[in-house]
Amino acid sequence: MIYINLLIGFLKVGLFSFGGAYAAIPMIRDIVLEYGWMDEDALMNMVAISESTPGPIMVNLATYVGCSRAGILGGILTTIAVVVPAFTIIILAIIFMEKAPKNKYVSAVFHGMAPSIIGIILATGLYMLLKISIRPLMNDTADIRPVLMTALLLTVFYGSRKLLKKKMSPILLILLSAVMGVIVYGV
């Protein structure tokens, strides 16, 4: 039953995504790959769209998976599921303000989970980049375009930060990469 899978999947995402949308991406990836709802390419298209449309990215991702798999009802279910844990936790936090984090064992759990999720996000990002840029090299055609584009975008992204002392906005990065894709693959 797709609705139940969507609901349970995104309740888990809402409950374990400490640190915002980027923490949710590896979990959503687990879910969509496990059920065969999307492949890696479709997943990355979705992340790009969720990044460049307004609103909370995690909500965008949840709505997207729900709507694209099971229409508007699916979208409503996944959106509610991803929001309910955060909603409940904040209301509990207001009521019991600051009691819980002082408990030694609660803080030990947090201190264990925080670096773990950072490692998971790092691995997800790196794996995606390697898969896009290195794998085409090993095909018969030995396509070097992706690895060159990756190197160029990384240089522009981090180079502009060093030079301008300002972080390049994600939307600008997405636009730039889109233009690059159109030119490199189109010509």
């Binding site: 809402g14 409950l15 374990f16 640190g19 915002g20 687990d30 990355m44 298209n45 790009a48 769209i49 990044e51 449309t53 307004p54 909370p56 990215i57 909500v59 965008n60 709505t63 709507c67 959106t79 955060a86 909603f87 936790i89 904040i90 209301i91 936090a93 207001i94 030694k104 064992y105 803080s107 030990a108 759990v109 201190h111 264990g112 989970m113 670096p115 773990s116 999720i117 490692g119 998971i120 996000i121 790092l122 691995a123 997800t124 990002g125 790196l126 980049l129 896009i132 990756t150 975008l153 990384l154 939307i171 990065l173 997405i174 990469s177 233009v179 690059m180 894709g181 490199v184 189109g186």
Partner: protein, 190 residues
């Protein structure tokens, strides 16, 4: 008031690009400075709570402000407000995107965009490492989780990322119980 809460947060949801952190500054601007619904200190406090609790950060903030104004009903109005614009926009995109992606030029564009997405995810984790509690245990957990997830992806083992996180939490709990000091302070004493 409930209607005002809904539309204020719908506006915030509609005009923030780039997710939670962009939204926090807009919430601060509207709810603290303009409408004086909450104080700056409360806003700081909720941001800290939002960062250490799961779920979308924007939802945490909206729920907090709504609850402070009108209790549970206010919390629901504000949360619905922040979610509604996203929902409508994404719904429309999913309806039209499939056909849109069949155009060759658009597909090429998305091939480029995938690289940008990888870079953004990588950059998010680098920023998180900079802000992390820097203890020996934290670095060990970070490296092990990274390796586990990387091998998991390469060999398609099917271990869920939640399982890795729960293992890390258990290890941290055991270390804290055995050493008798909170794991967060461990490295600072060495």
């Amino acid at each position: 008031m409930l209607v005002t809460l809904f539309f204020t947060f719908a506006k915030i949801g509609l005009f923030t690009f780039g997710g939670g952190y962009a939204m926090i500054s807009l919430i601060e601007n509207i709810c603290v400075e303009q409408k004086k619904w909450i104080t700056h200190n409360e806003m700081m406090k909720v941001t800290v709570i939002a960062e250490s609790t799961p779920g979308p950060i924007a939802i945490n903030c909206a729920t907090f402000v709504g609850y402070r104004q009108r209790g549970a009903a206010g919390a629901i109005a504000a949360t619905l407000g922040v979610v509604t614009p996203s929902f409508i926009i994404i719904y429309l995109i999913t309806v039209f995107l499939e056909r849109f992606l069949e155009i060759q030029g658009i597909m090429n564009g998305f091939k480029g965009i995938r690289i940008a997405v990888g870079i953004m995810i990588l950059d998010a984790s680098i920023n998180m490492i900079k802000k992390m509690h820097k203890t020996t245990l934290a670095y060990v957990i970070l490296c092990c989780s990274f390796l586990a997830m990387m091998l998991n992806s390469i060999f398609s083992w099917g271990i869920s990322s939640i399982a890795i996180m729960l293992t890390a939490a258990a290890i941290s709990l055991v270390v804290s119980a055995v050493s008798g000091i909170p794991s967060g302070k461990k490295g600072e004493e060495k």
